[in-house]
Symmetry: C2
Subunit: 295 residues, 2 copies
């Protein structure tokens, strides 16, 4: 397939690399200077997103936030200006599910298909081609581009129609944030009550409290290893999608809201670039007590 | 060993049964009429907790809450009145870790050992002898009575010194409650945004959002099966231990506090006897929207 790729940052660059390695021609557009590894593999640099859309059959977008996707798709010289009947736009960014439905409708007016395909797994997953991909769109479009997803991901799910991939991603980020907070409250309670949080964590694994978060992020809290991983400031962006979406949907998310506030406490104390497990630092600051392990 | 058992309710009765089946002599005291199955197996009925303590080497207590344990141990005619040097008291109730340390100190004055050994796994686990047991006390005492725990549990951990078993149990209940809430917020967001919560749950399993709660209680929320399980009113008792303990320890547990409020919303709408996964009902009531699955 002729692939277009827009957004060659930390996530986009390794993803684009895997797709080129899979034998596909690629046209790219990048605001900064294009990555030399992609050029060496034969990727063609375009002067605009519009030119990418003109040259490619499938245009993949991987940018930070909702306004960035809107700009790439619909600003002058954007993707929409270069589309012709039968092309496919895949947005792998993590953005608003509600805006996604609107973007897809506008792309459909051009006679083109749209998939939202946000990922989880971070930079590590992107490099290792082990991303989880949550897809929204039609079964037919999904089946057609599935070979591309197979080049970059492991757990690839068509969740539902357009927007549902983004909805699943938001749901994922809600659960991850609130579960980190749950583990933080529990281990801090244990520590402050005089127990060894490492032994408490061990006693809880395997029971109803068990989760990937208790396993991975609980260990981070105990070992005080807050190098990212997934940064606080990125999770704040995702919780903003959850809370802004909830407001539009008339839905209260009380613990997601509290987690966002705790991330802000964390950020106030210089923690924006720490791993999101550093949310526990906010609880620790409030309690004037740090989790300490005897082991 | 000569075992004394006080508190033959939903949990105590099957636990006592397994211990008698293990070949131990048993003296029991029960406020209500003693269970006939225990009598048939040779358990001796005593007139008071004091008499149980006089007859037994190891006295096990399994009652609802902190004041109940205090009454059984220290009221007139209680366990403490019947203790002599070298006996062991095991409290399998789920009560305050802070009060536990005080009780243990008073029992130590009698020349006796104390273990706190709260369990998780509920009535099902008690009947099947598959309880998780979180123990606080000395290694020596733990090793001596471990054969008794083996008769009723599977995952048996000495967490630390006296009180640390209760601390681990509180930590467990914090994580379970807040994770239920996390899954509730996420699936309700998904449903209200128009996605199929069953497919969203499936997409999230195996990733960072994965947990026993997403697996078991997420399914309950989608299938609307809120028969207990573990009752809302019991989890409210446990969160009270967490919040009251946190107040004494000068520690803020913001999401545990919110979960307790959501349980109260649930209870206000007749949900006290539902499974604790019914916490999602509080979010649904607030959003005027029920999780509905297409599948």
């Amino acid at each position: 397939m002729k692939i277009g790729f827009i957004g060659l940052g930390i996530m986009g660059r390794p993803i684009a690399g895997h797709i080129v390695d899979g034998g596909h021609q690629m046209a790219i557009y990048s605001r900064s200077s294009p990555p030399s590894d992609l050029l060496e593999k034969g990727a063609v640099v375009c002067a605009s997103s519009r030119e990418v859309a003109e040259r490619a059959d499938v245009i993949i977008v991987m940018v930070p936030d909702t306004p960035d996707v809107e700009a790439v798709l619909f600003s002058r010289g954007g993707v929409a200006d270069g589309l012709t009947d039968g092309k496919t736009v895949i947005d792998m960014s993590s953005i608003s599910p509600i805006a996604t439905k609107e973007f897809a409708a506008r792309i459909a007016e051009k006679g083109c298909d749209y998939l939202d395909a946000p990922v989880s797994g971070g930079e590590v997953g992107a490099k290792a081609a082990t991303l989880s991909i949550m897809v929204g769109g039609t079964q037919e479009t999904f089946d057609r581009v599935k070979p591309l997803f197979d080049l970059v991901g492991k757990n690839i799910t068509l969740v539902g129609s357009v927007g549902d991939g983004q909805t699943a991603k938001v749901a994922n980020q809600i659960i991850v944030a609130v579960t980190i907070e749950a583990v933080g409250e529990a281990l801090l309670f244990a520590s402050k009550a005089g127990a060894d949080p490492a032994r408490v964590r061990a006693a809880l694994m395997g029971g109803f409290a068990s989760s990937r978060i208790l396993e991975v992020h609980g260990e981070r809290m105990i070992k005080r290893s807050f190098d990212p991983g997934f940064k606080v400031e990125l999770h704040q962006k995702d919780l903003n999608l959850a809370l802004e979406g909830a407001r539009q949907l008339r839905l209260a998310l009380p613990n997601t809201a509290t987690c966002q506030q705790l991330f802000s406490v964390c950020a106030a104390h210089g923690g924006s670039l720490r791993d999101h497990s550093a949310m526990v630092n906010a609880l620790e600051i409030m309690a004037d007590h740090e989790i300490a392990s005897a082991t």
